[in-house]
Amino acid sequence: MKKMAASSNSNIPVFEYKDINTKAFHVGSFRTAWLEKLKPDDYSYEDKDEETQDAEIANEIGVTRETLEELKSICSIDSLRCHSEDEPPDTKLVPPDATLQTLIQRKRKQEYKGTLRIDKISRIDHYQNELESLAIGKKPADPDDLVPEGELILSINILYPALFDSFKSVRPHMTLQMLGSHKLVDLRDAICCISDLQVFGEFSNTPDIAPDFISKDHFKSAFFYFEGVFYNDMRYPECRDLSETTVEWAKTRDFPQFQKAKMEDTYFYDLKVKVGYPYLFCHQGDCEHVVIITDIRLAHKDDCLDWKLYPLLTHKHRVLTRKCAVCHVYIGRWLTTNDPFAPVDPCLFCGRCFQMLHYDTNGNKLGQFLAYPYVDPGAFN
């Protein structure tokens, strides 16, 4: 018994560097450890009626029902109210006589902001709020789609490739919530990166067929790297083992042996990871994303409980979009060069303006120019 406890101890996450990242632990064993420590009621989604709850608490702490009633009245939620019942406070206002330091600071901040006259919530903030709150507490229509009680939810940040200097300070990313019973391929398929949608080639003669040639369909290979293991996507015959080069290279250097595994065979429960530690996702040959598992916890009744809505996107960084040079309204979809119709070279056009300007009503190309399909980084906003 004691031995068992000792061996499972290594799967109790502890800090490797305080407040930065944990030591590596096995995700499945971590879940088991929690479930062993808790009673099923503790993580159940069910709301018990007060009567039952009270009886259980009385039993747990070993007091009579009478004592419990007394405790209930002493510790009631109402007892925490700092105002009389008939004059509820305005929670939108920092009380004028506030003494808490947090409030004094908030007040000062709001007064300052007030002078700036930008009290409005920006569209971006608004959008992100919606994203997060959209799925909160969502129950599935079909009970079969319920996320099982005691399931793990992992929050994963996928950083965009550091293309620009400004990214270094902001670190734009998307956040996905995954379940422990997901496979790595589920995460891979949920990551949207513009390089997956990039179309290579010049299509000025056949603009209608261009969007069919997106990179995702062409270059299917990809891998995740976690704790010395490369997890390759080998679902399709044309998939290549992208990690091969690295593994071979490392063999000739002073590196420990790397392992290889298949993305499609690996559940999150199978992983050994450090929470908070940067790992890697690589696709399209050289498009690299830092991947950080920021949180792992048991599912809660207020979480999105519809299994079908996972992987769940909870955060998305908005990128500025480049607009069409003609209408300045729509996002650019075509990039042209050597274009006599264009004010600049190269130039961006939305689909409509591009068509109207460069082709006649029968779809015949007008004049000489080169046209490349363009996917704006902000296209996912």
């Binding site: 305080k18 990242n21 929690w34 206002l93 808490l100 947090t102 409030l103 908030r106 709150s133």
Partner: protein
């Protein structure tokens, strides 16, 4: 939320410090301070929903830290009350949860048991209430981690007055241990006397390697430490009241059982040891205050301490050697690993 961290911490510590001065763990006492400080209003003032969620998260995480050792029982009680208050009064719907890490759960359950055993039912009730309300996220770590190295620069000092004071010396040098030591010492002196070829009643001074008054000396040293510690910590506290830490002064749930239990849980009270050796003084052999002996034993002790702690430093070295070549490196580590990096020929 970085900007208000220090302010939240200051407010929480203000409340906990006042609760500590009450020298009671009753919820009513806590409520009085909570209300006087209008702590509920910490959530007031227009914040857009995302911000208000982040704020709740931050406040709960701040309060959570005081629920765990090394804080005293009293402070930990204050922390569970504070979490309860904050959880109920926050303005988000659904409420932000209190994140509890797996490594802390056992500690918290033990805390509940301590409270129950000591008949502090209000403490246990509030903890249980939070659990049945599903107020907790059962997590890997108390905050989510984004490899934000900069964060480490913020000083996370522990509030000195809230800390459970070190009690290892008192625990190690217990009554039993002193008795055992006295026996061994006596035996040792006898063996030494019998082996040193009889002529004089005094043993050969060259084998006088240890204080003859080792036991009383050890005892009085620990006693001094204990006294010093008390003076240190509770300048304005009245003697004798402080040692029970979690002990309340009040009312209906009071029982002698609680006092007994607290004494056993917290072997902080060194009183038992104070009494003990008196009874054993008769065992002590006559003193022999010889100078050289003193030095020898001193010297030895220092060395063995070093040996005993050497594994700690070894661990550090090991950790430092952990390779961080994969993707990134902690900024703080840069200097220590420069040498290693060079061998990789980036």
């Amino acid at each position: 939320m970085e900007y208000c961290k220090d302010h939240i911490k200051a407010d929480c510590e203000q409340l906990l410090s006042r609760f500590q001065q009450m020298e009671s763990v009753r919820f009513e006492m806590f409520l009085a301070i909570w209300k006087e400080m209008k702590f509920e209003s910490i959530f007031f003032g227009k914040m857009e929903s995302k911000l208000s969620r982040l704020f709740s998260r931050e406040v709960l995480a701040t309060a959570y830290a005081y629920l765990l050792p090394p804080y005293t029982f009293q402070i930990r009680v204050g922390a569970i009350y504070l979490l309860y208050g904050l959880y109920q009064c926050q303005l988000c719907t659904p409420r932000e949860k209190i994140r509890v890490a797996l490594k802390d759960w056992e500690v918290i359950m033990k805390f509940q048991q301590e409270a129950v055993n000591a008949h502090h039912f209000d403490v246990a009730y509030i903890l249980r209430k939070l659990i049945s309300q599903k107020a907790f996220y059962f997590t890997a770590m108390p905050t989510s981690l984004v490899f934000n190295v900069k964060r480490t620069n913020i000083s996370r000092t522990l509030c000195e007055e809230f800390l459970e004071r070190a009690s290892r010396p008192q625990e190690v040098v217990s009554m039993d241990m002193l008795e055992e030591l006295a026996n061994i010492h006596q035996h040792y002196e006898q063996v030494k006397a019998s082996s040193s070829e009889s002529t004089s009643s005094q043993p050969d001074p060259s084998i006088s390697l240890i204080h003859k008054d080792l036991v009383p000396r050890l005892h009085s040293t620990v006693l001094d430490f204990y006294k010093w510690q008390r003076n240190q910590g509770s300048g304005n506290q009245e003697e004798g009241q402080y040692e029970d830490g979690g002990e309340g002064t009040s009312n209906k749930h009071e029982s002698s059982q609680r006092a007994k239990l607290l004494a056993s849980i917290k072997s902080k009270s060194y009183a038992q040891v104070v009494e003990a050796p008196k009874a054993r003084r008769h065992r002590q052999v006559e003193r022999d205050e010889s100078g050289p002996a003193q030095e020898t034993s001193h010297h030895k002790r220092v060395k063995s301490l070093k040996q005993r702690t050497s594994h700690l430093t070894q661990d550090l070295v090991k950790e430092e050697a952990t390779r961080m070549w994969c993707l990134s490196q902690l900024e703080a580590e840069d200097t220590t690993k420069e040498k290693k990096k060079q061998t990789f020929k980036w």
